[in-house]
Amino acid sequence: MDSSDGPDGRERTQLSRRRILAAGALLGTAPLGVAAETIGGSGPPWAPNTAAYPQSPDPAQRYDFFSGPEAAFIEAAAARMIPKDELGPGALEAGVPIFIDRQLAGDFGKGATWYMQGPWDAGLPTQGYQSRYTPAQMYRAAIAAVDKATQNASNNPFAKLSGEDQDAFLKRLASGDQQLEGVDAKAWFKLLLQNVMEGFFSDPIYGGNRDMAGWKLIGFPGARYDMTAYVKQYGKPYPLPPVGIGGRPAWSRG
């Protein structure tokens, strides 16, 4: 048995865990490091009030990752992909561009958990993502290539095109009919659509789904803890409004 077990060892572990979490918060990223622990013979190694609560993004509505022209693109594209209409806010109003910005500035944008070693090969569709670009690098290259393509065709960046022209361009990206210089256009559109959906429907703590607009649109109640009383109420609408991990706006002061 390892003699370093016991309450002291456990406390040290908890402290190192917290240290890792604090460092992660400083960088705005989730911790990836694995903490070595030797555990045994003296009880479970958890302690109360040390839960790994997720980090919320900086609430300021400024871009960390996107440049001005990039932000203009992402705002225009978001507004076409989930438009504001009589049913309620669209992706732009729900904060999807800020959500994507924070994701690209963090671990997701870096491809931190992805396998990013070469050699590189285009591969087959059944072999998945094979770009040497991280998601952040791919967005950077792709948005520049989009604006270059629309400039060449109509002397305007994407953001200045009409709504119909923007839709047509996005549809060509989705179908694979629109190529982009230096980037796999369809692979990027796949990523863009995923991130737009994530931003519209993920918990509001990540900066999108503002006022739970995505959840209200479809009737998803969010992080509700107990549905037991409603499971067998066949055909009846669920009566409670959505709630996020951080609670509901009405629960907060100010």
């Binding site: 694995v34 479970p44 989930i82 429907f201 499971v231 669920y238």
Partner: protein
């Protein structure tokens, strides 16, 4: 460094379901057990508490509880003419990392395989003749039978507190259960979960067509439960964040919620997290593992000696460690010789979507194994004469909770956006569900695992290479199941029906199922299998390999019940036979 790392009685590599089961059983026998796990310690209160567990982005899309490809992945190709490329981010399957393994984010679907599944080769040859099994279909009998495993299935179901309704008690068919299941010795420990609207509508429609629907057996608690180890679980609250998530509510069985509260207090058990096995080292005789080379989180590498070694990592990691260590003869698809990497198999899924005009289904409620299923077309429960395939699968409505991003984003359908799409999802989300099919995959000569010649992991070691595709057998079977699912969907009278057949080659991108199997299979002959019926390696007697690694081919059910039953069966043999004559084979070749 022998003094720093004294020999242990048992070294367990990988600490999910089977690692915890073996540790619990072998410490009970008085052995000194060390388990190593490369991921972190994880527990309910700290890592997926109810205050933040219901987070679709963090846990599913950012894959917090899953294996990180940056650390280790595998390369994939559909056949040997292609160049395998790395799975750069997870897609088709989601191995776990950390204490509890994939048994932490599983659904809790606890099935028993059919008695005929364990004799897949001889059963099909006997019933349908020699042409039923083509030459390149390398299916085998397991070397173990359903009646032999029954007590161990039962033991796991009571450990987990499975909620369900028996369909066959000692040969007597029971109303409301699955009439096709093998005989069980007693009723499930807990009654079925409360059934929501969509599964009930499915059950009514299936029954109207003469099928036999029943509640899915679920390791999600229908009521508070105290298991035979004295560990308490709480009732499920149907929150809809179960599959792919840790349960914040102690209502889904996992190593954490059923075994660890007892095991972690034992003085003869030690767990090292952040500690990865790099290589199994054979003794000079080549017939014994003398030690395992480990690396801890600080980068220190050392050899840990042990009398008995249990390989209990995920199937893909078990096979890779055997290949990297040169333990057992690697499979050669050209000659059919060798056993490590042989008979890799998977499962094949499809679905039929349906949307009602006016029925509100509240699809966001759910639990991992909540639903109504039918096994009328599973295994050999139906006559395959003239169908051109063997095997089958279950069909049913499984209400796991319709998390919105997963519901709306499909990487193979890039048309789901725009104003019309928005109106459609706003109108239909609450009224839409799908009938799912979950089919077997037989083993084939050309589907196998070996080491990749090009790509390396963080330690510079070869990645494993997976060569896999569905064959005619799987496509015909899956199309047949999807046709049956479509009939039931039509009988529900929805407004819209969308059949989604599984066409073409296996694709690594969309999530399908984490039911990879084979690569070090069990059997009756060391020439055609790596393990004997006790999961002991034929040619290395102190090495036991757990998990679906041992399945000679896959069945149409989720694997965990069978994985756990095989582990308990092995543990019993170690305790009652092996320890009396350590280092000896339990079956003479």
């Amino acid at each position: 460094m022998a003094g720093a790392h004294p020999k242990v009685d048992v070294l367990i590599v990988g600490f999910g379901w089977t690692g915890a089961i073996m540790a619990q059983e072998l410490t009970d026998a008085g052995l000194n057990v060390l388990a190593v796990e490369r991921g972190d310690w994880m527990d309910t209160a700290t890592d997926f508490s109810t205050t933040f567990a219901q987070d679709e982005l963090r846990y599913y899309w950012r894959k917090e509880l899953f294996q990180k490809p940056a650390h280790e992945t595998l390369t994939v190709r559909n056949n040997a003419t292609q160049t395998a490329l790395p799975m750069r981010s997870l897609g088709s399957f989601l191995p776990g990392v950390g204490v509890g393994g994939a048994g932490l984010h599983w659904n809790g679907q606890v099935w028993r395989f059919l008695p005929s599944d364990f004799t897949a080769r001889s059963h099909n040859l006997e019933r349908y003749g020699k042409t039923a099994v083509p030459d390149d279909m390398t299916i085998q009998d397991w070397g173990i039978t359903y009646p032999e495993l029954e007590p161990y299935y039962d033991k796991f179901e009571y450990l987990c507190g499975v909620s369900g309704k028996a369909g066959n008690l000692s040969g007597a068919v029971q109303q409301g259960g699955d009439p096709f299941e093998g005989p069980r010795s007693r009723e499930y420990p807990n009654p079925p979960l409360d059934m929501p609207y969509a599964p009930m509508l499915f059950a009514q429609a299936a029954a109207s067509l003469g099928h036999h629907p029943f509640p899915h057996p679920a390791a999600n608690m229908s009521r508070a439960y105290t298991n035979p180890l004295g560990v308490q679980l709480g009732p499920c609250t149907y929150c809809g964040f179960c599959e792919k998530y840790g349960c914040g509510n102690y209502a889904k069985s996992s190593a954490q919620t059923t075994i660890l509260p007892v095991l972690m207090r034992k003085p003869n058990f030690t767990l090292k997290t952040g500690c990865e096995a790099l290589k199994l080292n054979l003794a000079a005789d080549g017939k014994t593992v003398s030690s395992v080379t480990l690396i801890d989180a600080d980068g220190q590498t050392y050899d840990q000696p042990a009398d008995l070694v249990i390989l209990s990592a995920y199937i893909l990691h078990n096979v890779r460690l055997l290949l990297l260590s040169g333990v057992g003869k690697a499979y050669d698809p050209n000659t059919g010789e060798g056993v490590i990497g042989k008979n890799y198999a998977y499962q094949i899924t499809s679905s039929v979507g349906f949307t009602f005009e006016d029925k509100i289904l509240n699809p966001f409620m759910g639990a991992g194994a909540l639903g109504m299923m039918m096994n009328d077309f599973n295994g050999d429960n139906f006559d395959h004469s003239g169908l051109g395939f063997i095997g089958g699968g279950y069909i049913g409505v499984l209400q796991t909770g319709a998390r919105p991003i997963e519901t709306f984003y499909n990487p193979n359908d890039l048309t789901t956006w725009g104003g019309d799409w928005k109106k459609k999802v706003a109108r239909d989300y609450l009224k839409t569900f799908s009938v799912a099919t979950h089919g077997a995959v037989m083993s084939h000569k050309g589907n196998y695992l070996d080491l990749d010649p090009t790509y390396r992991d963080v330690f510079g070691r070869p990645l494993m290479r997976m060569t896999f595709d569905y064959t005619d057998n799987e496509h015909k079977m899956s199309d047949y199941l999807t046709d049956r699912a479509l009939e039931v969907a039509k009988a529900m009278n929805p407004r819209d029906i969308t059949p989604r057949y599984r066409k073409g080659s296996w694709d690594v991108v969309p999530y399908q199922t984490t039911h990879n199997t084979g690569g070090a299979i069990m059997g009756t002959d060391p020439k055609s299998s790596a393990l004997n019926r006790y999961l002991q390696m034929w040619d290395v007697a102190n090495l036991f390999v757990m998990g679906s690694t041992a399945f000679p081919q896959n069945a149409g059910y989720n694997p965990t019940g069978t994985v756990a039953a095989l582990a308990y069966h092995a543990a019993d043999a170690i305790k009652s036979q092996y320890l009396k004559a350590p280092g000896q084979p339990l079956v003479q070749a």
